[in-house]
């Protein structure tokens, strides 16, 4: 065969896993993002004492499909004065940045496109920050005063909180000592090589995790930091002039960003694809948790199937139950057929990873429905006056803890507890100053005015 075909075959042979992962990311993530939207609507409804989408498909499960179809067949409205090239380009940038940054993430020990790239986490953070360009260009291309203001505000918010988030990431990287994603998770598995024990970094650096949580909520423009997107505010935001599928791209980009941010937090703080308490041998039964969980969900579905009012819903519940049992069987297969043991780390790892990312996103949604919105200046004040100083102090504290342990021989946990206490004290001072400042604004009522004069 000619050299071109040979070269192509060789390429496919070496890179087929990564290619498959890449294709899965590009094809599946938008669908997953759509279902995260459904999850959010159902969760919002549950917290608000109502049911959420119920009509389209059983219990609303086909709602994202219906929404996607609707958005696709909508009329493509481009404002007359808008810059056509940039108008087309901007949502694409947002979406592409989010998807590309997923390329470096490891969704399990085997699922990663940019395998072992030297700069793992930095790649993810850097490429996902390219999404800001999509926002600015989108706001500008709409050629509307309010879109530009909304875009600038949104970008200002993102940039401020990215600083704080980056500093939080740095303090976690101090603990792992490397930027490579696989190595970070392995560091959490083998944190204490002598005792062969591992611990998630959230227990070693809880303040970092909290700072990253707050920063990532602001990064993805979620409540309580969603003023640039809020409908009841006057400035309508950079997405105003976008309708139909262009808007859908922005929206999907936002939810893909949520997945990225959740995945980064999981990798850095929550142990990636490790089960809770990795390396603790007497907790090895936790390895069976995926099977148990899916089986329990299946049993619950069967229990609910009997209570459905309409036959089609009963069949649907039975179908879901069977699906859960099938997944449980896949999880349990390696223990039954020994030759299949090689899929255990990949499958279980992916399960734990997705569980943690889902929990992180659940917290995002929970906060959205519970908390009111910050005003923009309060938001910036929170970022620059509280979060960034705290993040800087935190990096310093974690560094000191590491030095204390390696140079002065302190116990690892003691060093970390002492420095965490110090950081929390600083946080308390900062919050106190913040409260004094807002309460100290003048409460004196103005002098009585003569409303009948003039």
């Amino acid at each position: 065969m000619n050299p071109t075909t040979a070269a192509i075959l060789h390429f496919l042979q070496t890179w087929w896993v990564e290619l498959v992962c890449g294709v899965v990311i590009v094809a599946v993530v938008p669908l997953i993002a759509g279902y995260i939207v459904l999850m959010e609507r159902k969760l919002m409804a549950d917290m608000q004492a109502r049911l959420g989408p119920m009509r389209v498909g059983p219990h609303g499960l086909l709602q994202p499909i219906a929404d996607a179809v609707k958005l696709l067949i909508k009329e493509d409205i481009v404002p007359a004065d808008a810059d056509a090239l940039i108008f087309w380009f901007a949502p694409v940038i947002s979406m592409v940045a989010a998807l590309t940054s997923m390329g470096a993430l490891a969704f399990g020990p085997t699922f990663q496109v940019a395998r072992d790239i030297n700069i793992g986490i930095l790649f993810v953070l850097g490429v996902s920050s390219l999404g800001f360009l999509g926002i600015i260009l989108g706001g500008w291309a709409s050629n509307s005063h309010y879109s530009i203001i909304g875009a600038i505000r949104s970008t200002a918010q993102l940039v401020s909180y990215e600083t704080a988030g980056g500093l939080a990431v740095i303090s976690a990287l101090l603990l792992s000592g490397t930027l490579r994603i696989r190595a970070i998770v392995e560091a959490q598995q083998n944190y204490n090589p002598q005792q062969h024990s591992g611990v998630w970094f959230i227990f070693l650096a809880p303040v970092s995790f909290f700072i990253y949580l707050v920063a990532s909520i602001a990064e993805t423009n979620r409540a309580p930091f969603d003023l640039p997107e809020a409908e009841s505010e006057l400035v309508a935001g950079y997405m105003t002039e976008y309708s139909g599928f262009r808007w859908a791209l922005y929206f999907l980009g936002e939810y893909a960003n949520m997945i990225v941010v959740g995945a980064v937090a999981t990798t850095l703080f929550l142990g990636g694809w490790l089960r809770p308490f990795p390396n603790v041998h007497w907790l090895n039964w936790l390895d069976f948790l995926p099977v148990l969980l899916m089986a329990l969900v299946g049993v619950y579905c069967i229990y609910r199937a009997g209570k459905q009012p309409v036959p089609v819903q009963t069949w649907f519940m039975w179908a879901v139950a069977l699906g859960c049992f099938a997944v449980a069987a896949i999880f349990a297969a390696p223990w039954i057929f020994a030759p299949l043991k090689f899929i255990v780390p990949g499958l279980n790892g992916a399960f734990w990873f997705l569980l943690k990312v889902t929990a992180y996103i659940y917290v995002f949604m929970w906060l959205r429905f519970t908390l009111p919105r910050y005003r923009f200046d309060q938001l910036m004040h929170l970022g620059w006056y509280i979060l960034i100083p705290l993040a800087i102090v935190n990096v310093f504290a974690v560094g000191v803890a590491i030095v204390l342990e390696s140079e002065f021989g302190w116990n690892r946990w003691l060093a970390l507890i002492v420095t965490t206490a110090f950081t929390l004290a600083v946080a308390a001072i900062l919050v106190n100053l913040h409260d004094k400042r807002t309460a100290g604004a003048s409460t004196a009522t103005t002098a009585t005015t003569d409303s009948y004069a003039g």
Binding site: L85, N118, I119, L122, G126, F132, L133, I136, L137
Partner: protein, 177 residues
């Protein structure tokens, strides 16, 4: 083989974007094409296994400097600038500078073929995929051999930040009575 394809792709995009960038009338279009040119250059860095340089290019150049450029272009009233008197000899000087630059680059490339080993100035360096990891090497040298310039650069950046904030604050104070 894959390397060549990728290189030609990145290089082609870079050259095309640069050409488009200098020929656009709309400033934002130019900025966008500069972004694509920078991204293509970053791709070439990645091919050379200089991963840190690749991500630094993206984070700092594209994510920082180009965002700043775009802000400035958006917020500055360009139509006012267009009607101001410009430097009249611009075309002639530009031609001169371009010719000089072209001659220099040609000379460098010509003489480079006479140097042994790969690359232009690094003698006896290893092929790209056998180099030690980029980030670690950079960090090691930054914190050992180049510690003083690193610290000076940090202080300079700090001074710049503080200075910018002070100047902006002063301006605000003189604006509002």
């Amino acid at each position: 083989m894959l390397d060549s394809i990728l290189f030609y792709f990145f290089a082609g995009v870079a050259v095309l974007s640069a050409a488009l960038m200098v020929t656009r009338r709309n400033a934002i279009h130019s900025a966008v094409f500069l972004i694509t040119a920078l991204l293509a250059t970053a791709g070439i860095f990645l091919q050379l296994r200089a991963e840190f340089l690749f991500i630094a290019q993206i984070i700092l150049y594209v994510g920082g400097i180009m965002v700043l450029f775009i802000f400035v272009i958006m917020l500055v009233r360009l139509d006012v600038a267009i009607h101001q008197i410009r430097f009249r000899m611009q075309k002639f000087v530009a031609l001169l500078v371009a010719l000089a630059l072209g001659l220099e680059l040609t000379a460098i490339l010509y003489f480079a073929r006479k140097l042994p080993g790969q690359g232009l100035f690094i003698q006896g360096s290893a092929p790209a995929d056998q180099l030690p990891p980029n980030s670690e090497e950079l960090a090691r040298s930054l914190f050992s051999s180049y510690l003083l310039p690193f610290e000076i650069a940090s202080v300079l950046l700090l001074v710049a930040m503080v200075g910018a904030v002070v100047m902006a604050k002063n301006k605000k104070r003189t604006d509002e009575p």
